[in-house]
Structure formats: C-alpha cells, structure tokens
Amino acid sequence: MSRTAQQWMETPALPGSDYVDSQIYTDPHIFEEEQKLLKRATWKLACHESEIPELYDYRTLDHAGFSIIVTRSGDGNIRAFINACSHRSATILSEPAGNAKQWMCPFHNWTYDTEGNCTSITLPEGYEEAGVCKEKAGLREVRNGMKFGLVFINLDDDAPSFDEFFGDAFETLEDVMGAEPLEVFHHHKAMMNANWKTWHETNMEFYHEFLHYVNRNIAMSHKSYFERRLKLYPYGHGTVPPMQQTYERAGLKERTDKPLPGMSPSEFRIALLYPDTCILVRTTAIRIDTTTPISPNLTLVEQRGFGIKGEPEDVRNVRVRDHNQFWGPFGRNFPEDGNAVEIVEKNLRNGAAPYGIFARHEDLKCMDDALIRTFYDEWGKYMGRPAHNPTNVTL
C-alpha cells in the first residue's frame, strides 16, 4: 500500500539504531560539525609510503578542510604538517607530489625544512621589535601512524593513539599486506554527487551487492557468501571472513595466477576502517578507497591499487589487469557503486526521503546491517547527537 505525505514523513517504528535521519547527509551545519568533531578527531589515510620513497619526497592532500603535507624528511622519518605558512596562512606547496629540501611560501618567501622548522624569514630585522623570529615560526605538525606502509594522520593531538584506535582491525590482512613491502600502482580520484557516508555505506553493507552483475555471479552464487559473519571492532571498524569466489561464473578467468602472499586462488578479503576507508583484496590485487567530503552532497573518492614493491613486470601486469577488471574508472564494479550513491543523493538533496533504513538483523551474517549500525553509533559519539535524530539532540 502506498503512503500519504504524512505517513511518508512519520518516524519509522524502529529502534533508533535501525535508521538514520536523511538530514545527516544534507544538512550544512551537520556537515561542518562532522569536519570538526569527527574527521579532525579520527585517523585518516593520507597516502602510502611508496608515494614518498625518497628523502624529501612529499605528498599533499586535503583533509577535514585543511591542506596537509606528508613528507619523508631528511632524517628518513615520515612527518605530516598543515600546509599553511606560519606568517599569513598561505598554502606553501600546491603540487600533489614532489621533492624539495626546502619549502618556500610563494607569498612572502618564508622557508621551511622537511622537519617543519622555519629556516628563514624575509627581512627578519623588521620583526625584531615584535619578537617574531624563525625559531618560533615552525609549521604545525600533524600526528601520523603507519600500518603496512599506509600513512594515517590525525589532526587532534588528544585523540586516541593510532594503535588504540585501530586495535586488531587489520588482522585479516596481516599475512597479505604485512608480508612484503607494498607499492601503489594505481591512483585515481572521482568526484561523486553524494555524501561521503553514502559512499562508505556501499563498502559497509553487502545487501547492495545484488546491484553488481559480477558479484551476483562470482560471489553471491556461493552459499558460503551469506554465511560469513561480520566481525566488529572498537571504534567502528569491521571485517568479514575470507571467502572463495568463482570468477568463471561471470565468464571471467579464475584468479589462480600470481596470488598475493597469504592469498589462496580466487580468495576475497575485506576490512573496513572507521570512518571512511575500505581495503579490498581479490587474490592478486589490493584496492583501498577513502573519501574527502567537499560539501554535504559532493565527495571526492580516492582509490589506490597495490602490488608488491619490486616485483617482476609480468607479475605487476597481472595485478594491474586484475585490479582494473573490477576497480578504477573503467572497472566492472566502480561505476555501479558510483551510480548507486548518486541516485540516492538525487532524492536526499531536497528532502524527498526522510529516513534511511538499516534494520537487517541476521546474527551478524553478512547481510546484517551491523557494520553500518556500528558506524552510526560511533558517529553519534563524535557528533554528540544520534544519527536517527540529529537535530533534536537527545542521546
């Protein structure tokens, strides 16, 4: 039976944890608070160490409204800084990557070294009376932590440590990503007309996989697919047990050749890292995606593909081919997920749908919405408001 406008807008007769108010995806004030209270307080994937292999290499990225520099300093340590000059806040480095021993602000030529020290101030004598000097003008350093060469940053100096935050969330990947040094071979960005949480929901709920032609055939045709039980970790992370898939069921070649360390032929693994990162492994290739929210309805999705550092060209070619088969802008799955999140945003934008339902309870079997409920439970803690009732703050 269809519903009237009043019925359509009624609060779902569900526990608060089983649904979210659509305003969490569209409200500009909530978006701003997410940036400050959640994004700046959680650990964010910034890059992989292979993107800055040499001394003085750097990468820049935007995170939670700030431009960030991640560098391999002259002493070999990886450091991160806010990419803002101590003088007038100008962006110091504008290229996405490069190599430089000294960073000079293009506005007034203040310079910094890769350990964040201010090394020169233009015409310093003019500041002597005021006591401004290079010794007090270092860059704002940002905490960082690393796992499998993945560099994470945290803008909140008081946030839980890297080890406490992630705990055992990487355990399903230890034998795969921890065996040998990795290297990024694929990087692409995609601007989606969608809220960042909607994108990450496609990583966290497997119910949507009926959408994917390939997944329906190679994975969901196995009973074991549905029997896998989600594993939830503190701070909102999750994993799903490995499973074997049958690529031939979608007319594809089985992945028996060049498996990654620890992976058996045609095996699949996944780990979800709160709040916005997903690691997928398909036998031969690894994909990691993460997001940068631009506005409530605009999100930059960033995808990386990984192989083993220094592997022979023929092995690398297999990994690139297999990565691209599913992922990247021309993969089988990526455009389908992209289309899904954009058709959601189209209706959320003007309030056409007041609530999202995450009420599947299957004793943590893989179609259970438990990962998303855990995600929004954490979201509520950071935001000081529940996702099902974000504008009437009663936790």
Partner: protein, 152 residues
C-alpha cells in the same frame, strides 16, 4: 591496392561512430585480429604513468558483451575527434594521432564534457583495407566521476 590518408581517416571516424552507436560488433570489424586497446593516464600524485584498461581483442569482446548486464550510465556518449596526424612507416602500417572530446548526454538532454584525451592508433594497411591494430587512449581528464563501463 593502396590505402589513402582519407581511407585511414574514414576508418578512424567509423570507430568513433560505432562506439557512439554502441555497435561493438561493427567496431571490432574495424580492428585487426591482434587488436590491443589501452587506456592510460599520468598520475601527478604517483609521478608515474598508469594503465587503467588493457585488453586484447578477446578481452574487448568479453568487455563489450558484458556491458548489457551492468547497471550503467543511462545516457549516451558522443565523440568529437579530430585526426591531427597520419604517419606511414613504409612497411604496411601507419600511426595516427587524434584529439578526442567525449561528451555525455543525460537522458533528460543535459550534456557535459566527460573526458579529454588523445588516441594514439596503430593501423595495419597490409590487406588493402585499413584496420585498427592498436589504440592507446591517453587521458588528459583523470577525474571521471562515476566512471564508465563503455570504453572511450
């Protein structure tokens, strides 16, 4: 029988039209038996070249055959290509450079630029009919939104 530059240009234009029409069988008829198709892009983030798609003729046939099963962009692509250069090597083959703009039109009729790229084509002239031996789509545009199941 000699192959003129116009013959080559016409064949290349036909490949554009075949993809616009999503007539993949006709597209493959314009390709040689050893056809290789690649999409590549330079990543300033990695400071390296990347390969985003790499298929032989069999792989392209499989890819084309599966498009119908995917949830795909509902609109249409239009290719606007200009063949800048045709160079013969004197051994029955030629190279062509094409500048390409790919437009996407939503079902409601709104059009936008989807991607800028260049086609670097190798053309087999040995049979008297120009056949596409390989195509490298070199992307200038790297942010492609939701991406596409349809090659460029």
């Amino acid at each position: 029988m000699s192959v003129s530059d116009d013959d080559i240009r016409n064949m290349l234009h036909e490949t554009f039209l075949c993809l616009d029409a999503e007539d993949y069988d006709a597209y493959l008829e314009l390709c040689g038996p050893e056809f290789r198709y690649r999409i590549t892009a330079y990543s300033p983030e990695l400071r390296k070249d990347q390969v985003w798609l790499d298929h032989d003729r069999e792989g392209m046939t499989e890819l084309f055959g599966n498009i119908q099963f995917h949830v795909r962009l509902p609109g249409k692509f239009f290719r606007h290509g200009h063949v800048y250069r045709i160079e013969r090597d004197g051994n029955g083959s030629a190279k062509a450079l094409t500048s390409m703009v790919l437009h996407y039109t939503e079902p409601e009729g709104d059009s936008r630029v989807f991607a800028l790229c260049r086609y670097h084509d190798d053309i087999d002239l040995s049979t008297g009919t120009p056949l596409l031996a390989s195509r490298e789509v070199r992307l200038e545009t790297r942010q492609l939104g939701t991406g596409s199941h349809i090659p460029m």
